[in-house]
Symmetry: C2
Subunit: 182 residues, 2 copies
DNA sequence: CCTACTGTACCGTCCAGCCGGTATAGTAGG
DNA sequence: CCTACTATACCGGCTGGACGGTACAGTAGG
């Protein structure tokens, strides 16, 4: 694995385990097993490092969504269903406990959120492309954001089984019944 | 208004207008029109100040929920409907643009989240007390969290009208139809 | 030797928390 | 009424440490 990736990985781990405040160049270097100079060689500033973290998250999400999309049967709400399934992937970035605290790090510098905004816009576009009822799809996907939020905040509302019921219920709501007005 | 409240108010404003990173004792003092010493007289540390902010948020939420609960007709999902309505209150804490960035401030010190956890637990209890289908209620309320998350992150997915449609759709899903199971 | 990369030493800034001080009000004893 | 003492509220300078960023001196592989 490239040094760059190692550093990003280390930075993520720090945020996850110790909170955003603890993310410093020194600490990231230590955790990555190199020196601060090394970190600053690869990322020319702390903001730059955070940018790297954000990009990584986006890439992971994109990849995961792509995979689930392939696997999801065609039909209405295919993208919405994909998003739901990806959100519950136990290995995905959404389930890294407090992992996305990356986004919290971003709170410090809102400008760094722009790539995320772009990602969201893309998702919405996809969602709109195959959702018979965009309000319905939006509501369900917003619930997925809620799940993410709860994880970020350390709220443990979903025990494993309640979690699965939640997912199934969301999917049900995205499966138009026969004879139901779209 | 007591000095304590003034300080909390000032701190909130800073976080809302300038981001968490800008929240310092000096700045809070300046904005509140007193000196740093004064701030530290009322809150013995920065963490303590943040604790005060969290408490204020909780109190506001509680009050808002109480109000909406009174106004909400009896019947199944009364609490769930209350939470939905409160979430869309334009003057409520949930709609203070980026206001809840308070929670982001908290990201800095996860320990300070404990009161919020307690609040959540109470909400869940209430929710469970009058929801025929807890999975349904949980999903909808999680969507409300998602809304909050999107606001925190500066994602503007709800234009005013889409927002209203979302709320109505959520309420519909909490209004059991005649002849529907459960 | 040169390029890519890593390590170390250091600088300037910022900030939390401390502390000594001031002002005001209340209270008690004589 | 006056003095001594105490409590509350607030002020602002100081300091020690942390952190981002720079400069520069290696060093290993090609």
């Amino acid at each position: 694995m490239g040094t760059r990736e190692t550093i990003v990985e280390a930075a993520m781990a720090i945020v996850r385990d110790q909170g955003v405040a603890r993310l410093t160049l020194d600490e990231a270097a230590r955790k990555a097993g190199i020196s601060k100079g090394g970190v600053l060689y690869h990322f020319k500033s702390k903001d730059d490092l955070i940018r790297g973290m954000v990009q990584r998250l986006i890439d992971q999400c994109d990849q995961l969504n792509q995979e689930y999309y392939q696997r999801e049967p065609e039909g209405p709400y295919r993208w919405a269903r994909t998003l739901v399934r990806a959100c519950f992937d136990p290995t995905g970035p959404a389930n890294d406990p407090v992992g996305g605290a990356l986004l919290a790090a971003v709170t410090v510098n809102p400008v760094l959120m722009e790539p995320v905004h772009a990602m969201y816009a893309k998702w919405m576009e996809r969602l709109a492309s195959d959702s018979p009822d965009m309000t319905r799809a939006g509501l369900i996907c917003t619930a997925m954001d809620g799940l993410y939020f709860q994880r970020l905040m350390g709220l443990r509302l979903c025990e494993a089984d309640a979690c699965e019921r939640l997912m199934n219920h969301a999917l049900e709501l995205l499966t138009p019944k026969e004879g139901e007005p779209s």
